[in-house]
């Protein structure tokens, strides 16, 4: 896993502003290791660099993130390496290491009501989880998705959102909207405050900008959810992805190795440490 394997881009889809979804297939004949929702790969653009990108691909029934023999990643061009990756076209090659890290707690979600809360690009790491839940929906008590974005046209995966809303409760919230928008205008925490939740039998999974996650945690705590019922994906400064370089050390944790998904109860003391 520590040596990049050569992959080729088999599909490319432009998403929202500066954001693309790439489907990647290995050039060798070796099978892909099983990936789980919430894990990430290191994508290596030759001559530009390597970045951690969460898996956002479709899944199979065993909740792995492989679709046939491919990985799917959604990424936004915000720097030199991600810009190079976002420019890749079908047939172009790149290096891939992974999958790495601890994913969403699929085993613990079984039998529970699941509240999925995503902000902006944070829906990408949650997409495999949502698809796993939907593929086996009878195993879960009730699934709700709360998704916040800046504007309606900047919400990821609009077709999937429509598809999901036929099977689960989907509530969308944007900061700004035009007069045609029929969804919520405001902040995601406002929706959470008015949502009906069963705090004794609910697990919440959260992914988005850290500020959004902070306020979301407070809203869920007001709803009575204990810290042990909150899971969130933290991705900070990951370089080696195997806990050696120390760049992503966060208190006693290495985000690349011990995360990126954490139970809030385990990281609460570090979450409000501004110096970290």
């Amino acid at each position: 896993m520590n040596t990049p394997r050569l992959f080729t881009v088999t599909d490319r889809r432009d998403e929202i502003t500066a954001t693309v979804t790439l489907e990647l297939q290995p050039l060798d004949d070796q099978p892909l290791p099983v990936a789980r929702p919430g894990q990430f790969n290191m994508l290596y653009s030759f001559g530009a660099g390597e970045v951690p990108i969460s898996l956002s691909g479709s899944i199979n029934a065993s909740d792995s993130v492989r679709s046939a023999d491919r990985y799917t990643h959604t990424l936004r061009a915000v720097g030199k390496t991600t810009e190079a990756l976002a420019r890749l076209q079908v047939g172009d090659q790149l290096g891939v290491r992974g999958p790495f890290g601890r994913g969403w707690p699929m085993d613990q979600l079984a039998g529970k009501k699941v509240v999925v809360i995503a902000g902006g690009l944070g829906l990408a790491p949650l997409k495999p989880l949502l698809e796993a839940l939907l593929a086996d929906i009878t195993h879960y008590g009730h699934v709700q998705l709360f998704y916040g974005g800046k504007r309606p046209e900047e919400l990821l995966y609009p077709e999937s959102l429509i598809h999901w809303s036929e099977k689960i409760e989907v509530q969308l919230s944007v900061d700004q909207a035009g007069p045609d928008w029929r969804g919520h205008v405001g902040v995601i925490t406002q929706l959470l405050a008015s949502a009906e939740m069963d705090p004794d039998n609910t697990l919440a999974v959260i992914c988005g900008p850290e500020i959004m996650m902070r306020f979301t945690i407070q809203a869920l705590q007001k709803q009575g959810l204990p810290d042990t019922a909150l899971y969130l994906s933290m991705e900070r400064n990951m370089h080696c992805a195997v806990g050696h370089c120390g760049h992503c050390q966060w208190g006693p944790h290495f985000i690349c190795k011990d995360g990126p998904v954490f139970c809030y109860a385990d990281i609460a003391p570090w979450f409000f440490q501004r110096e970290l």
Binding site: T19, E50, V78, T81, C207, P209, E210
Partner: protein
């Protein structure tokens, strides 16, 4: 069919208040229904009323010349619409429009204001409760201003994106 007094006493804004205070507030209220598209408030109109939203969806919006209205905040069950009855010059600052059929309790702000002037205990209790809701709205507005979902580079790596 519930009475205004029942709706008022069960609403989170008034829950736990003394029965005589709730009774008085309820005496200033009426059940009102709105059809989709109806306006509850219009900018610059006298702010004589505020509303407890019992059921339905509404939006706070502002207008601009020759342009469609700009939605600012969505509101739904259990939300409160209207503060301007409390603060001079007692004119609505924004439009509030029904996005669906609405059931509301319309409370007469003039009536409650006058009572609060002569009953400081009621006034203080009510202000504490309204202030808590206002603080939530301010927090929400600040959060919206933060623009946390912006496509611009963020100071930290986030899922699916990186500064590198």
């Amino acid at each position: 069919m519930k009475t205004v007094a029942q709706f008022v006493s069960e609403h989170s804004l008034f829950k736990g208040m003394k029965p005589d205070q709730v009774d008085f507030i309820a005496s200033c209220g009426q059940l009102r229904r709105f059809a989709e598209g109806d306006y509850l408030t219009r900018e610059n109109d006298p702010a004589d009323f505020f509303y407890l939203l019992l059921e339905g969806h509404a939006v706070i919006e502002t207008h601009q010349h020759n342009q469609p209205p700009v939605p600012l905040l969505s509101l739904t069950d259990n939300d409160i619409i209207g503060w301007s009855w409390l603060i001079p010059p007692y004119r609505y600052q924004f439009d509030a429009r029904a996005l669906s059929r609405l059931r509301t309790v319309r409370l007469d702000g003039r009536c409650i204001r006058a009572k609060c002037d002569t009953d400081p205990a009621l006034g203080f209790e009510l202000l504490k409760r309204l202030a808590a809701v206002l603080v939530q709205r301010i927090h929400g507005a600040r959060f919206q201003l933060l623009d946390v979902y912006s496509a611009d580079p963020a100071p930290l790596c986030r899922p699916g994106e990186s500064l590198r």
